[in-house]
Subunit: 261 residues, 2 copies
DNA sequence: CAGTGGTCTAGACCACTAG
DNA sequence: TAGTGGTCTAGACCACTGA
């Protein structure tokens, strides 16, 4: 048994020469592979044994790296089948970032209505958030989410969310209203399937605000109605911000659910 | 090497006879010890080696159990020193459950102003949430949290949170306004130090609401001002609910920060 | 059945803390 | 220096999946 261990040797593609545990280095390499698109969301990565051979470490070390990545929701383990790149396609992670749930608890699927999609120069605020250069192109999308009206049986769906999205122009070249309208399923699934941008985590800032005239009419409520303002910054691999989103949530029959641990 | 392994043998205090991995059983036993108060918050638990001997498993198995409990914020590991029961006393976990932060980012300490503390029969809603029998005693506490006014240098602190707390009467026998007023530090620290109730996790439901007349005057805002309503149910060891809390957050200069992973 | 992840062990050595 | 948690290895066997 070779019990001396240090940095991975020079024969391998090492990115972080400074010291860190082996499994952290492995994790870094795996993240780089994800970032480079070596394995696509939904696909299986090599088995632990294969990776151990590739990196010339023991299986337990690879295992620990994968454990952390699974905890970070980058990978999904399936016993007997393999380890897969996390995707927004699966039912369980379908609306992973949407915390709005009906008060009744029965989570009915939401309907999407796209209002606008335009390419323009990023405003100062958007450029700062998305780490773009001043004046660089950005895509703005505006949409409504509608929920079935539970007060009236068979009633018309009613708006519950008004969202404004800003995306960096370069990676989202070719994103149009038509492309989104013909898409079935969550936008984040479209983004990862068509634009190779996978949202990994996000940070949100919540406030209570009064509905303005325009927002109110789009949501079908009186101006001044209290709304939950949700500002979200989403990140892809490597802590790179790739979406700024501002949502206005109508919380009369819904609420934002959060678990504190 | 003994590579056969199954349920912990009868000589030990086993609670869950059904099958589960050894480390899960260990975890269950450790949680029971926490629940029974065998080790108090802030104190060290026995070393991994000691626990391995006690449970007659390898150190690695104990380690995995502790790993999960540390991830659950039940324990805190400190290299070279030991493993400690998580506490609300430490600086890092001081206001672990309070997600309200100033927009400016500089997190100044909040001031507390207690308004009321009374013992009474639990309402139907409170009894259901806290799993009390109808008519059982509950303690209700009302308080304000005030933040330094950043718009005016040296200005008076201004109210930002109006909280109503409901606690089960039995474990909180002896909780009075005076006891809380003379306490320095977070309430959750008082609860764990004086009443042996440690809050482990919580669930929150957020809504935007309009300030009523009473709430508005307490918060120093106009009636109808949009407020963030935060309904929190807190749990101690073993998923036992022990606090219902309803907060109204003023989000003009603050916001509720949330990380989505 | 072979291949995958999941559990468990035993033992070595590293990194940190404190007396 | 002794004791703690942290990392790493090698190897065994269990549990699950799918051909």
């Amino acid at each position: 048994m070779q019990d001396s261990w240090g940095t991975i040797d020079a024969a391998m593609p090492v990115a972080t020469p400074s010291f860190s545990p082996l499994y952290q280095q492995i994790k870094g390499l795996l993240v780089q592979s994800l970032q480079a698109g070596e394995w696509q969301p939904g696909q299986a990565i090599p088995s632990e044994t294969d990776l151990a051979l590739r990196f010339r470490v023991s299986q337990g070390t690879v295992r620990k790296a994968i454990d952390e990545m699974a905890a970070d929701n980058l990978l999904v383990r399936r016993q007997g089948k393999g380890t897969f790149v996390a995707s927004h396609a699966e039912q369980s992670t379908q609306y992973r970032f949407l915390r709005l749930v009906p008060d009744s608890g029965t989570r009915a699927p939401l309907q999407r209505r796209l209002l606008d999609c335009r390419r323009q120069r990023a405003s100062a605020e958007v450029a700062r958030a998305l780490e773009l250069r001043a004046g660089e192109a950005a895509v703005q999308v505006r949409r409504l989410l509608l929920a079935p009206d539970e007060t009236a049986a068979g009633g018309q769906p009613r708006p519950v969310v008004l969202d404004d999205l800003w995306l960096p122009g370069a990676p989202f070249k070719g994103l149009t209203l038509e492309r989104m309208e013909s898409w079935r399923g969550p936008l984040y699934r479209l983004f990862e399937a068509e634009f190779a941008v996978h949202m990994v985590r996000a940070e949100e800032k919540l406030r209570a605000v009064a509905a303005g005239a325009d927002d109110a009419s789009l949501l079908g409520v009186a101006p001044g109605t209290p709304l939950l303002s949700v500002e979200r910054l989403s990140y892809t691999y490597g802590d790179k911000p790739v979406e700024l989103r501002r949502g206005l949530y109508l919380t009369t029959a819904h609420h934002y659910r959060n678990a504190l641990m």
